[in-house]
């Protein structure tokens, strides 16, 4: 629902526009006291350089502060080359200020914050661990998504529980006209989306599903190709120390997702919408000696009631339930505890995060210059970590940890246009957290001053708190490799205060010829009460940087310079996700006759690591003398710079005269750059030689292709 209040009587042209959709214009006459309602259904359009929807861009430029905010049209960004599967997080990592630390994980880091400091919501439903394959892909099916807003600076007061960023993803409504379907057959996954109107056209629905066939594909590679020649596998081989059925490449793993949204118009002023999602990663193996079953994934459902009380007062009331669960079962017939001695071993256990939220939100338009939002929310979160281990049928390990908390929030913010060329957004959020009896106030402020019709200065600042987080990891493998699904979530309590950040941003934005923009932002972020995994010590972080974004049509160039420092004891150090210079070039070029070219090039300064400088001999509890590494200072060294070029080509064509097909072919890492992922320093105890080898990620051109069909 959209409302325009306080319109003086007269005749107007109403323009409805949204990036990625055909613009609609309608002439309306408004009389005194009249309440007009119009419903619009926009047609999608292929987005290119020509005919970019500048109306929506300009409207946003003139009436929103948007400091540290990036609006993402997901349907546009789907064209970008990605590792075998479209991913909503990949385009984010092409924006200045957002980085990924590895090719093998889609977890993102914003302006010096760590990956757990980002709140990801789908239609206001929190998604606690939005990654598949332990971080390689996100859990979202892009076909049924509409757009997203990434808040990296001035986060609106209605959001709480994140100190670094908020990624608010929205599903799109299904077709209100007819039932349609689209499918995709890709190298790693296949997808199907079906949508249509409800009976009587009183709403719409959309359902998307996706399933990978990594298990079938790896079996095929194992049986037909020579797996030893694929160095990508060597990365996994080093960190997955078992073979499956004596086949070094077969990988009995897959994941699936389902996403759905239903909108029901109760009457002209009331709508109910429901969103649901579920997805799991599954790994199963069974042979005569070992049986392993691992399952992990998210599920959530949300219900919202939108109501227009008057043109000046709208409300949204919602309830949502979300959970993440990771679970293992392990049954080994001959578990080797000591050399030559085995016993049966069983394990089952896992961890979970579950949350229930109730949210009331109101939007009030007291006049043409104000938009006031206010509301409240309540969240109940429960974390569980349980496990039972048995040797020879006797329980030798048992753990059942549970923790829960309540978080209450109230918020109020006002977007005010006090004078032409000024926009002010001021907000305040109050929170009460029961574990530790924390009461926190979280002010937010944003300002924009347009100096000319196309050029504006902006500034923003805010204080944010987070009550569910992760400790700083103890090794790089945990963040760079997809080797762990355990969230290791920590709840704030009386001994561990909530995380707190203060973010300040200054910026400037210039619209270019109505087709693009240049923006420059400077930021600094102060982070407190972070903790280290191994020592549990409290610490702090500080980051600052500059971001430049040059956007033209659907292509852009983004550069950022940033510095991140953390401290847990006395010494400041550069954490694992500090990268000094980051450059991203994204090209999205349409050509005649349905052809399209996309390309991305990324250049990052090397990430820090704690280098191995020596080895020491250690006598263990068995009296064995083993060699362990001696590390230098935390974050003292840097990997070589990272850069990679990806290119994709697509062609749209009519299929059987009435359907639309699209074939795409992409090559990742076109010039075979061997980006160093990790160093493996080791001491050979039999020869006495210490040495280092590089572990690279994708160091060869990787082709990806697929077919999309729209019915």
């Amino acid at each position: 629902f959209y409302a325009l209040a306080g319109i003086p009587p007269g005749t107007y042209t109403l323009v409805i526009s949204m990036i990625g959709y055909e613009e609609e214009r309608v002439r309306l006459t408004v009389t005194e006291g009249q309440k007009l309602r119009r419903d619009f259904s926009l047609e999608t359009r292929a987005v290119g350089v020509e005919g970019v929807e500048i109306t929506a861009v300009r409207a946003r430029f003139e009436h929103e502060v948007d400091v540290g905010v990036e609006h993402i049209n997901i349907q546009q960004q789907r064209k970008l080359p990605s590792l075998g599967e479209e991913d909503v997080f990949r385009p984010l990592e092409m924006l200045p200020g957002v980085i990924s630390v590895s090719d093998l994980t889609s977890a993102f880091y914003v302006r010096g914050g760590s990956m757990d400091q980002n709140l990801v919501v789908l239609d206001d439903i929190p998604v606690y661990y939005p990654y598949h394959m332990m971080g390689t892909f996100s859990t979202f099916i892009t076909e049924s998504l509409r757009d997203a807003d990434l808040y990296t600076g001035s986060i609106p007061a209605r959001y709480g529980g994140a100190v670094s960023s908020v990624l608010d993803i929205r599903m799109r409504n299904g077709s209100c006209e007819r039932i349609t379907a689209s499918g995709e057959l890709g190298l790693i996954t296949s997808k199907l989306t079906v949508e249509g109107p409800l009976p009587g056209k009183k709403g719409s629905w959309i359902v998307s599903g996706r399933r990978t066939y990594i298990d079938a594909l790896s079996w095929l590679v194992e049986e037909i190709l020579a797996p030893e020649s694929l160095s990508f596998y060597s990365v996994i081989e080093d960190y997955v120390y078992f073979t499956v059925n004596n086949k070094p490449f077969y990988f009995p793993y897959h994941f699936y997702d389902i996403q759905s949204n239903v909108n029901i118009d109760i009457n002209d002023n009331s709508r109910i919408s429901a969103t649901g999602f579920a997805g799991n990663d599954e790994f199963h193996h069974q042979d005569s000696l070992l049986e392993v079953a691992s399952t992990w994934g998210n599920a959530g459902v949300g219900l919202k009631w939108r109501c227009v009380f008057s043109p000046r007062l709208l409300s949204v009331v919602g309830v949502d339930i979300s959970r993440y669960r990771g679970y293992d079962e392990w049954n080994e017939v001959e578990f080797e505890l000591n050399e030559g001695d085995t016993i049966g071993y069983e394990w089952d256990g896992g961890e979970s995060v579950r949350g229930i939220g109730v949210r009331w939100g109101y939007s009030w338009l007291p006049g043409t210059r104000h938009r006031v939002n206010f509301g409240a929310d309540v969240d109940y979160i429960r974390c569980e970590d349980d496990g039972t281990g048995k040797h020879g049928g006797v329980t030798t390990y048992f753990n059942d940890d549970q923790d829960s908390s309540w978080l209450f929030g109230l918020y109020l913010d006002d977007k005010w246009e006090p004078a032409p060329f000024w926009v002010v957004e001021a907000g305040l959020r109050g929170e009460y957290y029961n574990k530790g009896y924390y009461f926190r106030m979280s002010p937010r402020l944003g300002l924009k001053r347009r100096l000319t019709a196309d050029w504006a200065l902006k500034a923003g600042a805010g204080m944010y708190y987070q009550y569910l987080y992760k400790n700083y990891p103890y090794n790089e493998e945990e963040v760079k490799l997809p080797v762990s699904y355990y969230g290791n979530w920590v709840m704030a309590d009386s001994a561990n205060p909530p995380l707190r950040s203060i973010i300040g941003t200054l910026g400037s934005e210039y619209l270019l010829s109505d087709k693009g923009k240049i923006s420059l932002e400077l930021y600094c972020k102060d982070l407190r009460n972070i903790r280290e995994t191994c020592s549990g010590q409290p610490g702090q972080g500080f980051s600052y940087g500059t971001e430049v974004l040059f956007k033209y049509g659907t292509s852009w160039l983004g550069y950022s310079y940033s510095v991140v420092r953390y401290r847990f004891e006395d010494e400041w150090f550069y954490p694992l996700h500090d990268s000094r210079h980051n450059l991203h070039v994204v090209l999205n070029l349409p050509f005649p006759k349905g052809w399209g070219l996309t390309s991305t090039w990324t250049l990052n300064s090397g990430f820090p690591y704690s280098g191995v400088i020596g080895f020491y001999q250690y006598v263990d509890h068995w009296g064995r003398e083993v060699w362990y590494p001696v590390y230098g200072q935390k974050g003292e060294f840097r990997y070589p710079p990272y850069h990679r070029l990806d290119i994709g080509v697509s062609k749209r064509f009519p299929l059987f005269k009435k359907y639309e097909g699209s074939l795409y072919f992409q090559v990742l890492n076109v010039y075979a750059r061997a980006n160093v992922l990790l160093y493996d320093d080791y001491f050979d105890q039999t020869s006495g030689i210490s040495s280092r080898r590089e572990i690279t990620s994708i160091n060869f051109p990787l082709p990806v292709m697929g077919l999309k069909v729209r019915f």
């Binding site: 505890l337 000591n338 050399e339 030559g340 001695d341 016993i343 040797h391 020879g392 049928g393 006797v394 329980t395 030798t396 103890y474 090794n475 995994t533 191994c534 020592s535 000094r580 210079h581 300064s605 090397g606 704690s610 280098g611 191995v612 400088i613 020596g614 080895f615 020491y616 001999q617 250690y618 006598v619 263990d620 509890h621 068995w622 009296g623 064995r624 003398e625 083993v626 060699w627 362990y628 590494p629 001696v630 590390y631 230098g632 935390k634 060294f637 840097r638 990997y639 070589p640 710079p641 320093d681 001491f683 105890q685 039999t686 020869s687 006495g688 030689i689 210490s690 040495s691 280092r692």
Partner: protein, 266 residues
């Protein structure tokens, strides 16, 4: 101007990659005193001196301890002066024929390694700083359960507390298997001095429980559970060196093992 810009850009990129700097070898000491004497079992005494290795070095690994059957022996340094002392006794240890290994057995005959005894260590070597460390044996204790001679299937071993111990190490073997199992109680579990023992098809089970002083407990337990970005020297407690100077008080007991008769039936 363009060339200067490119040069700066290249320098910035190149300067972002840093290789490990020079690291100099440091002393590495492992001197463990025990109330049990023998031949380098984990609950027995040892005294070895060595050094850390720099990345890129090649070290000699042909030093095999006399009678040694381990695959990975201690790479030691010969010629260090190792001095042990307590209130009444000061002994300069003799080096064995194996490089870096020192003889403790002359001290065994004097019953000097006993509960509550306090010892000081001094190590001198050309080019090294003076190394000093101290340790105290935890007090005597006993295995309290099972009280009799029989250990039933599913039962637990329980022992009394030892004053001065930060934690305990448990080693046990099913006799005739020749295999030992090992278990620690961590600092948060110091009140939990018991362990459920899995059933095996043997007729005798032997336990050794070692009360570990702070130095030895931190070295063994933290070294077993260490995190890579920890500084291991935080739990080594020897100023100026890697390694450990610690003490353990050991008690042992053997039982007839009865796997067929469950604890519930007795």
């Amino acid at each position: 101007m363009r060339h200067k810009f490119l040069a700066i850009l290249v320098l910035l990129l190149v300067s972002c990659a840093t290789e490990p700097q020079d690291y100099e070898s440091e002393p590495n000491i492992c001197v463990i005193l025990s109330t049990e004497h023998g031949d380098f079992e984990p609950w027995e005494s040892r005294a070895t001196v060595g050094r850390t290795v720099v990345v890129g070095d090649t070290v000699p690994v042909d030093t095999i301890r006399e009678g040694e059957y381990y695959s990975f022996p201690w790479v030691g340094i010969s010629g260090a002066e190792v001095i042990l002392s307590n209130n009444d006794t000061t002994v300069i240890l003799d080096e064995t024929s194996d490089q870096g290994y020192y003889k403790l057995y002359p001290l065994y005959n004097y019953s000097l390694f006993v509960p509550e005894a306090i010892w000081e260590l001094e190590v001198n070597y050309p080019g090294w700083p003076e190394l000093h460390a101290g340790t105290r044996f935890p007090e005597d204790f006993e295995i309290t359960h099972p009280p009799g001679d029989t250990f039933f299937w599913g039962d637990s071993i329980v022992w009394s507390a030892s004053e001065g111990a930060k934690g305990y190490g448990l080693w046990y073997t099913y006799q005739k298997s020749g295999i030992w199992w090992q278990y620690f109680t961590g600092p948060l579990e110091s009140a939990r001095r018991s362990k459920v023992i899995p059933p095996r098809d043997y007729d005798e089970i032997v336990f050794r429980v070692a009360a570990l002083d702070t130095n030895l407990y931190d070295y063994l337990y933290c070294g077993w559970n260490f995190f890579e970005i920890d500084d291991p020297r935080d739990w080594m407690h020897i100023e100026g060196a890697w390694g450990v100077f610690g003490a353990q008080t050991v008690v042992s007991r053997s039982y007839v093992f009865s796997p067929q008769d469950s604890l519930a039936g007795n």
